[in-house]
């Protein structure tokens, strides 16, 4: 168990605004560069994130990363995403105060992480319970040994109770449906419903900055002096030009 004052300072109870994808799939990224003079020589640099720790991610953030992993790590893996994703340590935190806009239970998730973390923290009276979810997490626990003590059974019970309380509060807010049921409900909606939604869209594309799972990107070449770069940027699927066929 880690004591409370050690972490209050960091302010981890407050959720971070931008989704973790900013770190692994940045809004703009250089893929490689080359010189056009003489023989074409391609230079690639893969940015790795060494010594980076993500602290206070919630279960929903981890689920979003799991979905990005599914797309971007599936072979052939996205080399840029993979290089950054592999070395980052993730310490997640149980959700104690879900906000009014939270809906994890409606998608079959829990407000606490069940996997996908190196360490998970659960706030209990007087501090945090730490649980390792990976080899890296177990190593961290060993490193933290002198600052921590073994959790008592009453603390474990307190964690369980808090988790159940938060889940119940969220479930009261939502009728919990299975993913299959949600899919069925959506399929029954008429086109007019979606036209109504589309009518509200002004194509500002702010959505791609808050969505933790969307990953589409656009690729283009950009010159600087005698060097050219191939660059990718996030590309919103709600843009009218997104699915233009060929004509390049």
């Amino acid at each position: 168990m880690l004591t409370e004052d050690m972490l209050d300072e960091v302010g981890i109870e407050r959720r971070a605004g931008p989704p973790p994808k900013f770190l692994f799939l940045p809004p703009r990224e250089k893929m490689f560069e080359y010189f056009l003079r003489g023989d074409v020589e391609i230079k690639v640099s893969l940015e790795e994130l060494e010594g980076v720790l993500l602290l206070g991610l919630r279960a929903c953030d981890l689920k979003a990363l799991e979905m990005l992993d599914k797309v971007l790590l599936e072979e052939p893996a996205d080399a840029y995403y993979k290089a950054k994703r592999e070395n980052v340590t993730i310490i997640s935190l149980d959700c104690a105060e879900p906000s009014d806009s939270c809906f994890c239970v409606a998608l079959g998730l829990k407000p606490y992480a069940e996997g996908g973390f190196d360490l998970n923290m659960s706030r209990v009276d007087g501090g945090y319970l730490l649980e390792a979810g990976s080899e890296r997490g177990r190593e961290l626990l060993t490193l933290l040994e002198e600052f921590t003590e073994d959790a008592s059974s009453s603390q474990l019970e307190e964690r369980q109770k808090k988790r159940e309380d938060v889940t119940k509060r969220l479930e009261e807010k939502y009728v919990v449906k299975s993913a299959a049921k949600i899919k069925e409900d959506v399929s029954l909606l008429e086109d007019e419903y979606f036209e109504g939604l589309a009518g509200m869209c002004v194509e500002c594309f702010g959505c791609i900055y808050s969505c933790p799972t969307c990953y589409c990107f656009y690729v283009f070449e950009e010159p600087e002096d005698e060097t050219w770069r191939r660059v990718r940027i996030w590309d919103p699927c709600l843009s009218e030009a997104f699915q233009r066929v060929a004509a390049v």
């Binding site: 074409v40 690639v44 893969l46 790795e48 971007l72 052939p76 080399a79």
Partner: protein, 276 residues
């Protein structure tokens, strides 16, 4: 920052290739023959490559040469935008970047002992040319082969010098939407060829590529004739950008065209609204 070896496991890095030959097929189509600077190139008919024009960009093109040639490979490119206009400026000896081959292929293994109907429209004949080469290479494996090809005008027919060669091995029927004084053959859209060419749907595998509207009407025609949806193979095109199912641009329904296509059976896509 770690500097990776070029290509080393990074699917976005093109391999360098030299242009061996440029052939003008029609006023706006050229066929380019490439050879990788290092190594062989293996692909199957129906697959595509991403061609990089350095200093301009990258675009997808379906391979149009014989998959049995592993030394060199060809794509036929219509000039329609910035990248295609830039590649039309390229000459023998120039260097381009190649990624791929990507995507699914025409299932030749399903065709043995079967009749085959190939329907192409405009530049859509390019992937089918690769298929025709592959079929002719092992001609004895297949039964009757018919090729139906339509272009808008006689001058827009591509592979003009190849059709006589192909006729030695397969039945070839050409048509144009608009004839001129040089044209002695059939006139009408490609589906009108079905009025004069008898096609029996039994044990028949169809392969179609062309502009979206043409694919739509040919598919309808084939279904009317009694072709099974799983025997109608369509080579679709979207803005395939990454080629490996990551960038999202070529999504239709539950598929990425670059990864789950570009060769689809009609059966796979029939429930998708407006698949063409």
């Amino acid at each position: 920052m770690a500097v990776a070896a070029v290509g080393g496991g990074n699917p976005y890095i093109p391999k360098l290739a030299e242009i061996l030959k440029v052939k003008e097929e029609s006023p706006d189509v050229k066929t380019f023959t490439f050879k990788l600077k290092n190594g062989e190139f293996n692909f199957k008919a129906g697959q595509f490559v991403e061609v990089s024009v350095f200093g301009m960009g990258e675009a997808p093109f379906t391979l149009s040469s014989s998959p049995f040639d592993t030394e060199k490979f060809e794509v036929s490119i219509m000039r329609v935008g910035s990248v295609t206009a830039a590649i039309h400026q390229k000459k023998e000896g120039d260097i381009v970047g190649i990624r791929g081959p990507y995507g699914t292929h025409f299932p030749l293994e399903k065709c043995e002992g079967k009749n085959i109907t190939i329907v192409g429209g405009g530049i859509g004949i390019a992937p089918l040319r690769s298929l025709i080469y592959a079929l002719i290479h092992e001609r004895e494996k297949y039964n009757n082969i018919k090729v139906l090809y339509g272009a808008r005008e006689p001058r827009l027919i591509v592979y003009k010098d190849l059709w006589d060669e192909f006729k030695k091995h397969v039945e070839v029927y050409l048509t144009v939407d608009f004839a001129d004084e040089t044209w002695k053959g059939h006139v009408g859209v490609v589906t009108s060829l079905f009025d004069v060419v008898k096609v029996d749907p039994k044990d028949n595998m169809a392969f179609v590529c062309g502009p979206p509207i043409m694919i739509k009407f040919v598919t309808q025609k084939l279904l009317e004739l009694g072709f099974a949806p799983e025997n109608i193979h369509l080579s679709l095109e979207r803005m395939m950008k990454c080629g490996i199912g990551k960038c999202g641009h070529c999504n239709i329904g539950k598929y990425y065209v670059c990864r789950d296509g570009a060769v689809f059976t009609y059966d796979m896509i029939k429930d998708i609204p407006n698949p063409f």
